[in-house]
Symmetry: C2
DNA sequence: CATTTCTACTGTATCGTTACAGATTGCGTG
DNA sequence: CACGCAATCTGTAACGATACAGTAGAAATG
């Protein structure tokens, strides 16, 4: 856990095994530390030949700037903080996002730090921590609400960030979102095309922005294709056991739906269990459409009609967006919405 | 007597909105920066009353030490690096581990940095990076091999670390592992108790240490309970489609097994699909036992006999182990193995 | 020829923290 | 009364990088 050995003496001895610093390069090239620093960042007041020499030596030594030095002097942390809700998921949702993000960051000096929190507790806490300690250059958050206080705070403090999901309160900020409205609309279409007309919706919690997107897509779908809604009093955040039980009751009732639209892959598993518990069969008594972020549902029941939400891609988009924002690109230009894809059933 | 003392430097202006530093506290208490620093770390040469005062002011200001300052001066990064293989998982395996780790780290100054890599590429690369740049105080790695080169390198360089899985080459190091031998043994027992005698094993890739653990548990199980193995030529790392197809072929063949032991939850889903594709039914024609890290299998088929591997707990254990190791605790004392738990089926 | 203007480099101070080597004061001792 | 010794507290110099204000030398200008 310690690293120096270089005491006392003036200029600098190469000290073979130590990690190279600007001083090492300066010593080897016979230049000043400042020159080396500026040469490596391609400053205009350094001679071309000198730059070349410095770069060669730096490469040769495997020089990597000391992050603490840079951070202390410039305030640049080279860190992107990913704020995750630990009760957010059962499936590999956030892993995929992490991997997408790191794909993009791997070509940059940025590191990714995970800042978890329980969304039952204060969701502002991690954001405040990051702002107060200046521990990141950029932030990625999810589970966005229409007037999300985190978005407000981050904007107000000028911290670059990207969100997974949109807001709806006149704030302009980078985001990536899945087109949940299109998904819900298309889901209804698929069901109606299979002759289903009485459709239930397992929707997200109403405080999240995409609740409205799902609702609108669903309702215009019902209208456009001439179907009606069978109410379902539970949302995707409920414990799987609750979802199962409520779906079972619904499926046993007189006005059971003949179609279900499900807004989350993990919940779909519970819905399926509820359907089976009621003695109904997908494809025969009813059809189900679900979105999923990991291709798993068709392994469980090939009959489930699935739309893919590419969360890894979302991670990539958001990582690119935050970095662009850090580099001063206007937020308007850093917004994207991805369309649902409907893989041909099969496996 | 002539103490001209401080000339030039007027200690420091409070500058209300700035982030407080030691200097701020020094200014407010009228003490020197050094004194404040030492007071906050409860050094023995600082008066009790002074410490109290410093602590009060620090708390009042919401002082948090600047990580870059500490890191630059001491070399301590306060970072734990989690090295993850991005193709490691489909399910929420690594998320659960991340959350377990952060539970423990949340009470400490440590941050968690995710360092991903593709295990098809060079698995040493992230470890080398961390060592070369000194970017973490401790490392957590998984997918351990019997003579894992990463374990060798980390040990050699004196970097504190913990592994998810054991090695088998005379190296002593902190680890947390799931008792795969016990799992496989008990799995065979469960199957035989249900009257199954011809058992197939879906095993992990042979290069990983726990391959041997699974094999031994399985084989002693076969021996102890009087069953025989039906060979299955595929491992848990194979694409799910391959697993499904191979299982289907096996289940259609003349000597189809009447029991299957499966070493990974995601693979079990594919195995189940293969079984169903062959027209066989769990509980009737055969039984399956699988381990899982996320309670999902019984939602798919209640008949699957599942053992729970608590990956979140593993994350907690490893985080505690790395920190203890950083604090100088002997590696021998930082090893733990968790037992499979067999939740009563149902949900 | 003196002066300005470039070009190419360099020294110093600084970010926040801590290791280290002093200071200062009070007080008990011989 | 000088001395030693605790008990407290403090200034300085790093750690590695960069912003800023120079400087030296050569070339262009008047």
């Amino acid at each position: 856990m310690e690293n120096k050995g270089n005491f006392g003496q003036p200029a600098s001895a190469p000290t073979a095994r130590e990690r190279p610093t600007l001083k090492t390069i300066a010593f080897m090239t016979g230049l000043g530390v400042t020159t080396v620093s500026r040469a490596l960042k391609d400053a205009p007041d350094i001679g071309a030949e000198t730059k070349e020499r410095v770069r060669m030596v730096a490469r040769q030594l495997g020089y990597q700037p000391n992050r603490a030095g840079v951070r202390l002097r410039t305030g640049k942390t080279n860190v992107i903080a990913l704020v995750l809700s630990i009760d957010e998921e059962i499936m590999g949702f956030s892993s995929q996002m992490v991997f997408g993000i790191s794909e993009v960051l791997s070509g940059t000096p940025y590191h990714i730090v995970i800042t978890p929190h329980s969304h039952s507790k204060d969701p502002m806490q991690p954001v405040r921590y990051i702002l107060d300690t200046g521990s990141a250059d950029g932030v990625i958050i999810s589970r966005i609400e229409p007037d999300d206080p985190r978005v407000r705070l981050l904007t107000e403090r000028g911290m670059p960030f990207a969100t997974h999901g949109r807001t709806d309160a006149g704030l302009t900020h980078p985001f990536h979102d899945f087109d949940n409205e299109a998904f819900a609309h298309q889901a209804v279409e698929k069901l109606v095309k299979r002759g289903r007309r009485r459709i239930a919706l397992l929707q997200p919690p109403s405080k999240l922005t995409y609740y409205a997107h799902i609702r609108i897509g669903f309702q215009t779908g019902l209208h456009d294709y001439g179907a009606e809604e069978v109410p379902l009093r539970v949302n995707t955040d409920a414990p799987l056991a609750d979802i199962r039980d409520i779906v079972e009751v619904m499926m046993r009732s007189a006005n059971a739906p003949d179609g279900i639209v499900c807004s989350a892959g993990s919940a779909a598993i519970a819905v399926n269990a509820g359907i089976e518990a009621a003695g109904k069969a997908l494809g025969r008594d009813l059809d189900m459409v679900s979105k999923q972020s990991v291709p798993i549902l068709n392994w469980i029941r090939p009959e489930i009609i699935t739309a893919q939400e590419d969360v890894r891609q979302a991670g990539r988009e958001m990582a690119k967006a935050v970095i662009a924002r850090i580099d001063g690109v206007e937020p308007e230009l850093l917004q994207s919405v991805s369309q649902p894809t409907w893989p041909e059933s099969g496996r």
